[in-house]
Symmetry: C2
Subunit: 287 residues, 2 copies
């Protein structure tokens, strides 16, 4: 059973998880651990019942949800074990999984760590923007070190609640997760940043009105703050380097084939992928 | 005075121009030249008064507006001159300007050609999707071979009507136009196509649900049809090759600096450009 939940980091994701649990009928206690203003905002939003120190929140928690930035999650894992209720399930919401999994493997003994990554977010940050429906219809990746870690009563309850809040949990290796998101997420961010920076350096400011809506679309991600991405890039450098290399090779191929049928093939391949990614999907997920 | 307008090519752009003229109070005649079903749709939409052959429409037209695909515009220019009313103003809506300007320079004698590129469009095509407000607030680039070509009474009337339909006309060299759109539009398209094709080839289909909204954004342009882009790429190959080279260099630089402060600088540069491009703008335009 999950009676007590500790949400460590009560920003958009942590606070939305609290709200979503409540909306789905969770009646246990939810403690929030964060800076005083952040946790006050989460209490105000109804996302957590009360603020607590890490030690206090974790002492009785059956489920510990680390929803901090990646670097902070790794820090927390290094201090967490002695504070845990024996047998607790510890999970997280970090956007990269291998380095977090390594830290958990070294540090977590008294409980079980199952990495997680909800594929959800929005442009606004903080508990004030929290939304009980944030995870609805969205994939929630779980990266257990051992598949058996998902076959405990506590993990079953956690997965039950993920379904209850509308998420679609799936399971994969941390390394596979990091390789896939390097291509589907991190590469998209860097392609946008690089495009915007290229235009900034090569188009005079007074000519920027000679642009269609395509550039506006393609530069939305470039608005993202470096603060958010620094940890992601630092903890998934190898996979991102490979993804960039593959993308550069594709661009090179296109440049060399602007007047051949190869370009048509790339358009067709790209359009098919775009239709899949942008269409509604009902792929199988974790039962 | 502009009393008779011929719109050659009555798809989205041509038909929207007809509707916009009418909505702005134009009371002259508007003839449409296109395939029978396309021109019937334009008549039905109220964008043109009637269908006519090219020869018939152009014989009395003070303004000839070529709103066909680029390759068709170049074909039309090669046959147009003997049919023109002497002194007519011929303009177009092609997305690249140098090759069209070259064709006009070789072929148009009895009238004056001023190249044009309205920075407007939408995903739906054809006269059925036409919209009198399509050009409102959008830049409309004019690329006269000689600046004096914009200083004739007829050109003044044309520019008057561009303002009247809500467009923001600006003037520049055809070569500068093509260099700028290679970066602001054509590169954005190819960056999206290349990203989508890269993901298609490197992420198994069953893992595509491990993607955030960023990839959906970044692959919208990849839905564009090759048919539309073949002419653009074929008529702006040099500038597009250069733009791709510059973009690849930027991606290389980012790949080599994933863990240095340089990455932060690229994020800051990109975010600034994105805010400019995505923000509302009130830059000066042609009086």
């Amino acid at each position: 059973m999950i009676e007590n939940v500790a949400i460590v980091g009560t920003g958009l994701i942590g606070a939305s998880f609290g709200l979503a649990l409540r909306a789905a009928g969770f009646t246990g206690a939810i403690c929030g651990v964060s800076s005083p203003p952040a946790v006050a905002a989460a209490v105000e939003a109804g996302a957590v019942d009360r603020a607590a120190s890490l030690a206090e929140a974790v002492a009785s928690a059956d489920l510990v949800f680390l929803a901090q930035p990646i670097g902070r999650i790794i820090d927390t894992l290094r201090h967490l074990d002695p504070l845990l209720k024996p047998g607790a399930l510890v999970t997280d919401a970090g956007s990269t999984k291998c380095e977090i999994a390594d830290a958990a493997l070294q540090c977590i003994r008294r409980g079980t760590f199952v990495g997680g990554h909800p594929m959800a977010g929005k442009e606004s940050r903080g508990a004030a923007a929290a939304d009980a429906a944030l995870f609805r219809g969205r994939t929630w990746v779980l990266t257990p070190a051992d598949a058996a870690d998902l076959n405990t009563p506590l993990a079953h309850r956690f997965i039950h609640w993920l379904h209850a809040i509308g998420a679609r949990p799936i399971s994969m290796d941390a390394a596979e997760h990091d390789r896939v998101v390097a291509l589907t997420s991190h590469l998209a961010q860097l392609a946008s940043t690089a495009l915007a920076a290229t235009v900034a350096e090569n188009v005079p400011a007074e000519r920027l009105d000679v642009a269609g809506s395509g550039l506006a679309d393609m530069s939305r991600l470039a608005l993202s703050s470096y603060e958010l991405w620094r940890d992601i890039v630092a903890t998934n450098t190898g996979a991102i380097e490979k993804a960039l290399t593959t993308y550069i090779q594709k661009l090179d191929h296109i440049r060399e084939n602007l007047r051949t049928r190869q370009l048509q093939e790339e358009f067709e391949r790209g359009a098919k992928l775009a239709a899949t990614v942008r269409g509604s999907s009902t792929r199988g997920n974790l039962g």
